[in-house]
Symmetry: C2
DNA sequence: TATTGTTATACTCTATAACTATA
DNA sequence: TATAGTTATAGAGTATAACAATA
């Protein structure tokens, strides 16, 4: 059921759309959130550190500034986040060729390894999805593709 | 494509299940996250404050301890979060009848109002969902119900 | 003894503003 | 002048440990 502000506008759109959204929010807040927090905690990463590891693809050095954009945060935060990743030997700062203001970030060997473990665990589907029949899975996949694509 | 750790186990389960999960994660990290951050920022709430407002249902006073459980965090954090909500006049601390150790939390009038605005905005489905046909929406809703229910 | 809420402490994330070294 | 990265600072969330009041 939908909560309304007293005197607020009535719900727009069909009820099914609202329930879909509510279900997606629930999923994100429970199942998905627990999985993410649990995984990064096991790997001794903070959420922004894990996010940074996802953005830093092996063999693709990027500037600090680009990482800030990827993490949707102010560049001043990146210094500390990268400091901690570098202290753990997961990332290296390198001088950029051509512009001496820029430092590029590169995953180390163990950075690449930890990133792979992280992505592998995060991409493991929960039992509730695996419990659907193959047909239902294809159906759900196609519908979600359209929702994610149609942004 | 799936990222594998060198020497790691191959992906379990059908590819569709993994893609579904990946799509749900993407949705959660982009569309859903932006909506949530944008909404709570507009209402001048922090994410935990917004979460607390969701847990504190009108007419249902709960103990600080229960709120800590609802927010999945240590009780010591609740003091500060409630301090700030109380300073804004959204919540009141009250003595609990029967056990003088316990303080119960109650939404004020403006707390109830802000909570309604928050939930109303968060439950508004994004265009990509509204763009599906009524049939597709019912299909997607039913599948998600099973995923969320089958936990 | 155990529980409720608080305080003290320490760490991380977050933004803003000022600084440096480059461009 | 403008940009990349850093530093300083302040506010908020997080956990652990210790505490007072109460059960």
């Amino acid at each position: 059921m939908t909560v309304k502000a007293p005197g607020g506008a009535p719900p727009r759109g069909p009820a099914a759309a609202r329930e879909i959204w509510t279900l997606l929010v629930e999923l994100s807040m429970s199942n998905l959130r627990e999985r993410f927090i649990g995984t990064v905690t096991e790997l001794e990463l903070s959420p922004p550190q894990a996010h940074a590891l996802k953005v830093l693809r092996p063999g693709n050095p990027i500037a600090m500034r680009e990482l800030a954009d990827g993490l949707h945060c102010d560049p001043s935060n990146i210094t500390g986040i990268v400091d901690r990743l570098e202290a753990r030997g997961l990332v290296e700062r390198r001088a950029a060729p051509g512009d001496r203001r820029i430092k590029t970030l590169l995953l180390t060997g163990s950075g690449v390894e930890l990133r792979a473990r992280l992505l592998d665990r995060l991409s493991e589907p929960p039992p509730a999805i695996a419990a659907l029949t193959a047909d239902e899975q294809r159906q759900l996949r196609d519908l979600l593709r359209r929702v994610v694509g149609g942004r």
